[in-house]
């Protein structure tokens, strides 16, 4: 969305704060139902980020599929779990947790240093210079549809086969019980 500067920055900062707190909540809540709901909050904020990044179709797909299907499925799975199953999952600080947090903070800081070391504006300049400026005759959703039906046709059909195989596998696994 092409907003003016301060409103855009305020939105980015607000959504980033909600994302950081929600991501911490997903990992650190001991009750899984709370972490499932905070996962839903994170997914909604990610879809608002997609709206800020001008890709409305992906934002709608994220809202429909992630929040509407996957998160509801996870909440159902949490509600079908027995109460004893997550009460013994108390968070004790062991050696493995320390090693894991060390590894993850090292990954985070190496990624951040790599991102800030890369000269993005040179890359943007070289890609923009050989870019032919055309008129936006058709919208983004129409372009996505055209790509899906012409040069991404084979992956699209493969995705449908993968979904079919997943459904049949889930049904057979559920019938064996």
């Amino acid at each position: 969305m092409d907003l003016t500067g301060p409103i855009h920055d305020i939105l980015v900062v607000f959504l980033g704060l909600v994302l950081i707190l929600g991501g911490l909540g997903v990992v650190l809540f001991t009750n899984p139902i709370y972490s499932a709901f905070s996962l839903g909050l994170v997914l909604v904020c990610v879809s608002l980020f997609y709206i800020l990044l001008n890709s409305y179709f992906v934002a709608a797909a994220q809202l429909l599929i992630y929040v509407g299907a996957i998160n509801v499925l996870i909440i159902f799975a949490v509600m079908f779990m027995k109460g004893s199953e997550y009460s013994n999952d108390l968070h004790l600080w062991t050696v493995g947790d320390g090693v894991t947090s060390l590894v993850c903070t090292s990954i985070l800081f190496s990624l951040i240093s790599t991102i800030s070391d890369t000269s993005w504006y040179g890359i943007i300049w070289t890609t923009k210079s050989n870019h032919i400026i055309e008129q936006d005759l058709i919208s983004n959703v129409q372009q996505i549809g055209i790509h899906l039906s012409t040069d991404f046709f084979l992956p699209f059909e493969l995705i449908s086969i993968v979904l079919l195989v997943a459904l049949i596998g889930a049904i057979t696994m559920a019938r064996q019980n």
């Binding site: 980015v12 992906v58 994220q62 997550y86 990954i107 985070l108 983004n140 372009q143 790509h147 889930a170």
Partner: protein
């Protein structure tokens, strides 16, 4: 557009997803952290598609494929 901040956010989501994924014993918690990791990948794809390739939109199509893969994986798990 300060897109580096968006990249920082996606790196944060990735690392916190790995932090939740490695020591988790229950299946549902591992699934939730896996969704966080896939979302960070999606944020990166959409950001670079918006930045470098605003005409072709191939990153958007790849992110849609990733969303479909994540749906299949959550249906099995």
């Amino acid at each position: 557009m300060m897109f580096e901040h968006v990249l920082f956010l996606s790196a944060y989501l990735f690392s916190i997803g790995i932090y939740g994924l490695i020591p988790s014993r229950s299946m549902v918690r591992a699934l939730m952290c896996l969704e966080l990791i896939l979302n960070s990948v999606n944020i990166n794809l959409v950001t670079f598609s918006n930045l470098f390739d605003s005409r072709q939109l191939k990153g958007d199509i790849f992110s849609i494929f990733l969303i479909a893969i994540a749906a299949a994986e959550a249906a099995i798990g």
